[in-house]
Symmetry: C2
């Protein structure tokens, strides 16, 4: 039997988790990555070097890497002081390779060889674009970084768009056509996930695909962005941009985190994503499993947020098993 062909769609952190588990299975992986990030290290490199956003691509490359731990640590290394402060080495690496090769796609190929990745990473578009949030009062917030920083305004969101409009990376069309499964990864709904579906041609390609389309639900809500959202609310928002009747399955974690952890998260305004009223949706099957990770976090002390965040998270191996067997 030939390998399952799986296409994943998402941003950085959620894709990292999904891909880390799936790469251990006999699958052909294609990671489609959103390309509208302009915050932090990625934003500085875009502005200063005139390159496409490297951050989410880097996370997918590291997830798929079969190279030494040293190289993976190198790519994720973040400078704490001096002129490089805040940058991740992998971002600098990809952006410089893009300058040298003349294209992010060529840079990814070269970086993929060095990192010996299993599968491939495809930017959702090779166009240079920014995310725009149009609010109900007509105001616009331009740029993912600014949208993220003004998350409270998303309660007044009318629509998201990309400016300029950009077309899907043609290689993705072919990958989707041949896919057995298309995974919509967990992650920040408005700034990581939906920006993929704003790229012209992606939703149409998914709609035509033979593949099973599977959404993996977030574990926790995001303060200011998805407060009180149920799994159904997430799905309804995604369908606004992807279209209705396309998603076949929604994978949901039914395992309850400890009260202690929930309290910690509640202090940051994050609550468990509940299933919600599935009668609002047509044709999406809800699949629930125990998917929480119980591994001890190895996040560095210096990286407090990551340490904290990592406490309620998916077990990438359990999730991969569910996806693989589906």
């Amino acid at each position: 039997m030939s390998n399952q062909k799986i296409v994943t769609i998402g941003g950085g952190a959620g894709s990292f988790m999904v891909l880390s588990g799936l790469k251990k299975r006999p699958v052909d992986l294609t990671a489609v990555v959103s390309m509208s990030d302009d915050s932090g290290s990625t934003g500085i490199l875009r502005d200063e070097l005139g390159v496409l956003p490297p951050g989410d691509v880097r996370q997918c490359l590291v997830a798929l890497s079969q190279s030494s731990q040293v190289l993976r640590d190198l790519f994720n290394y973040r400078y704490a002081s001096g002129g490089l402060s805040g940058h991740s080495f992998g971002n600098i690496f990809l952006s410089t390779l893009e300058k040298v090769t003349g294209g992010l796609d060529l840079a990814i190929s070269e970086a993929g060889r060095i990192l010996r990745i299993k599968g491939r990473v495809l930017p959702v578009t090779l166009g240079n674009t920014r995310l725009v949030a149009t609010l109900k009062d007509g105001r616009e917030i331009i740029g993912e970084g600014k949208i993220y920083a003004n998350a409270a305004d998303l309660s007044k969101l009318k629509k998201l768009s990309l400016r300029p409009a950009v077309s899907v990376n043609p290689e993705i069309i072919e990958a989707i056509k041949q896919a057995d499964k298309i995974i919509i990864n967990p992650g920040d709904l408005y700034v990581s996930l939906i920006p993929n579906f704003l790229v012209q041609g992606l939703s149409q390609a998914i709609a035509k695909a033979q593949a099973k389309v599977i959404y993996v639900g977030n574990l926790m809500t995001k303060p200011g962005q998805t407060d009180g959202y149920s799994l159904v609310d997430y799905l309804l928002e995604i369908e606004k941009y992807l279209g209705q009747g396309i998603i076949d399955y929604a994978i949901y974690n039914k395992e309850r985190p400890s009260d202690q952890l929930l309290k910690k998260y509640a202090r940051q305004g994050e609550t468990v994503v509940l299933p919600g009223d599935f009668s609002k949706l047509r044709g999406i099957k809800l699949l629930s499993y125990n998917l929480l990770s119980h591994k001890v976090s190895h996040a560095k002390k210096s990286d407090n947020l990551a340490n904290f965040r990592s406490l309620i998270r998916h077990d990438s191996d359990k999730l991969a098993e569910v996806i693989y067997k589906l």
Copy 2:
């Protein structure tokens, strides 16, 4: 017949030239690199990340690389704008790998694998040290960058030293013991070459070696540093630090550059290094050849100095032939 075992000793640019030619021959190469640079991109990384100087190591790695042109271009890529301005990507790469691995020697091994180098690159010391110029009036100039910037004072030089004192990288002792030939590369006499011989244990190892010790003379003098120096003057200065009776051969270019080029250089205060009075030296054989490069320079327009400098330079293949056949 087994490969010739060749050890080269030098700084960045001169070692790059010598190694670029030698790597095409059936030789086992060990490049010993000076470690007291603290100027430019290298100096910033030393200060901000607390690492050893990467710049000269990078040039040797690129010279020995058998990887794609893309990777070699990547390592030499220099940022022209933004927060990374002035840095070379290869320097950032090596310094970050040193942070991740915990040692420059480990970083060089990993980088050498990625660049698929032929041979190896050994920092002359793994100690963290600075070059100190003590002048005849007792003043001290501390740091290679400052010494370079105050080159005029070198006419009043009493002695060079390293602070703190550091010991030779032990791997070098073994390489020198087994070497058939030891090449002392051309390059800046006081800030690139002699700093190697200030490291405790290197000169003694060379003195004991069975190998032929061969000095490759500079083509042109360096304004403020070696004005009017003959080949013999260079050799006498090197012998002050290396010891007498150790160098067996001096390779000298006897080919005269065009008058037009010589005029250009004269405007910068650079003149041809003449052989000088060899009766001042004992036991060093002078070998003269036509060694000038007549290849068209491919230096980038943006890099005017490199373009200019590259006009009177060694042909690395001709030099490698001389060294190999000696």
